[in-house]
Symmetry: C2
Subunit: 103 residues, 2 copies
């Protein structure tokens, strides 16, 4: 459910950069993920919330700071959705080909 929200969350260069960082490095604090993006901490925080709402990331309070971690299931759902589309598309192509060959 909420597939559009999922893709929408990925459809922003800054959020995608965040996901990149998270997939590369260790889980880190909000401050760390937000640094060096060219926007303020609050701006970055909003992006993180979008990612969290879309279940691409989850936030875990840890004393004074909040750890940001990638949620693999989010990415998986997105990929699965695309695969389903491609499957239908392929079936359609096959049906079309049969139609052309056999009459």
């Amino acid at each position: 459910m909420a597939v559009p929200e999922l893709f929408r969350a990925l459809g922003d260069p800054i959020r995608l950069e965040m996901v990149q960082r998270l997939s590369d490095g260790a889980p880190c604090t909000i401050g760390a993920v937000s640094a060096g993006l060219g926007i303020t901490r609050q701006g970055a925080r909003k992006h993180l919330q979008v990612l969290a709402d879309a279940k691409i990331v989850f936030l875990e309070a840890h004393g004074r700071d909040v750890l940001v971690q990638l949620d693999p299931s989010g990415l998986d759902r997105a990929k699965q959705y695309i695969s389903d589309l491609q499957l239908r598309w392929d079936r359609r192509l096959e049906a079309l080909q049969r139609y052309l060959e056999d009459g």
Copy 2:
């Protein structure tokens, strides 16, 4: 390239519905893809343009009407990008595990 644009194009319920229709049925005209979406033809046309700009769909003039066709390579790029992310994520997990085990 322009991966964010790709996801962004998929991140809208109406555009996703269009892609669904195109993957299901035969390539059809702009009018056909645009019908029954709850918005005007011009509104739908703008969505189609977004999909076309993101290379998810291509438009082919055919006399009076314009055929809309799914571009499988667009979906493939999106899927590939996600797979790459997951690959890096998995590698990171492995490294972490080795670190925990071996010291």
